[in-house]
Symmetry: C2
Subunit: 141 residues, 2 copies
DNA sequence: TTAATTCCAACTAAATTAGTTGGAATTAAA
DNA sequence: TTTAATTCCAACTAATTTAGTTGGAATTAA
């Protein structure tokens, strides 16, 4: 029941973009350096975030990434669902799913857990985390 | 962010024991058969449940398992924490943990997620799931 | 034209999860 | 007192997923 590096690194990257790409876009390279993440790996994660419409890119020299929305409109739940696939604690889309499959009697458990995770994550915005980051790391703007 | 087979199978086994080990204990073999789980694998999971004091065993012929507590006193959160290690979405016990590690600025996210998971899972008892199981599977007693 | 960048697909390595094997110890019942 | 059914234990292997790498094409500012 762990968030993988996709979720962890991807969220860090979103915070980084929120903090550093205010005037200008910021490059993958710089995000990776500041956040201490493998550049090539992070590239994959940012690709998902882009596909999901959370960040925008410009290509070529001086290119980079910016948030596609104001940070107060980006819920952490949205970010994590994009990166992790979903926050559902089980996959049960079998069409032959009957009453004794893993998910069925315990379905009430999994759906309540998922709902509570979604609610908790959707109650936090990127704005809040970016502000914490600025404070904690004493960033001048 | 998935519950593994440990959590899924282990919870099924707990429900099975709650349902079938009322008068007599029920054997690993029968639990595994009814729940369609590898017997040898389930053995490992039940060992954790036993170690955690959730089930009791008797050895030898006609031996088997029973719940160590009444099912209304067993929270699903307890069962899942035993089987999955914890419901925390991250491991961050590094002692050199500083402000830019994966967990720190996002710490508020992970701790809120963990809390909401624990609360949701602790609000459900084994009793409830066992009753659902009996109903859904039309079990005569 | 060059250097810096995003974008893309396929590959490899590492770690975790899932499951197996073999056998010792215990106990009820024939 | 033997046998069969069972729990208990430790180590091994297989499968899957996660994490990360590689190589290069396309784009663009300077």
């Amino acid at each position: 029941m762990k968030i993988s590096t996709k979720g962890r690194y991807g969220l860090k990257a979103m915070i980084d973009i929120a903090v550093y790409a205010t005037e200008n876009q910021t490059s993958l390279k710089n995000i990776a350096l500041r956040q201490d993440i493998s550049e090539a790996y992070l590239e994959q994660l940012i690709a998902s975030l882009k596909k999901a419409g959370l960040v925008k890119s410009t290509r070529g020299a001086k290119g980079g990434y910016v948030l596609a929305l104001p940070p107060e409109e980006i819920k952490i739940g949205t970010v994590l669902r994009v990166l992790e696939g979903s926050l559902s604690p089980v996959d049960c889309q079998k069409n032959g799913c009957h009453e004794n499959c893993d998910c069925c009697v315990s379905k009430t458990v999994w759906s309540r857990l998922e709902e509570s995770l979604n609610d908790a994550a959707d109650a936090i915005t990127l704005q809040e985390l970016a502000q914490d980051y600025i404070k904690v790391n004493n960033i001048q703007r």
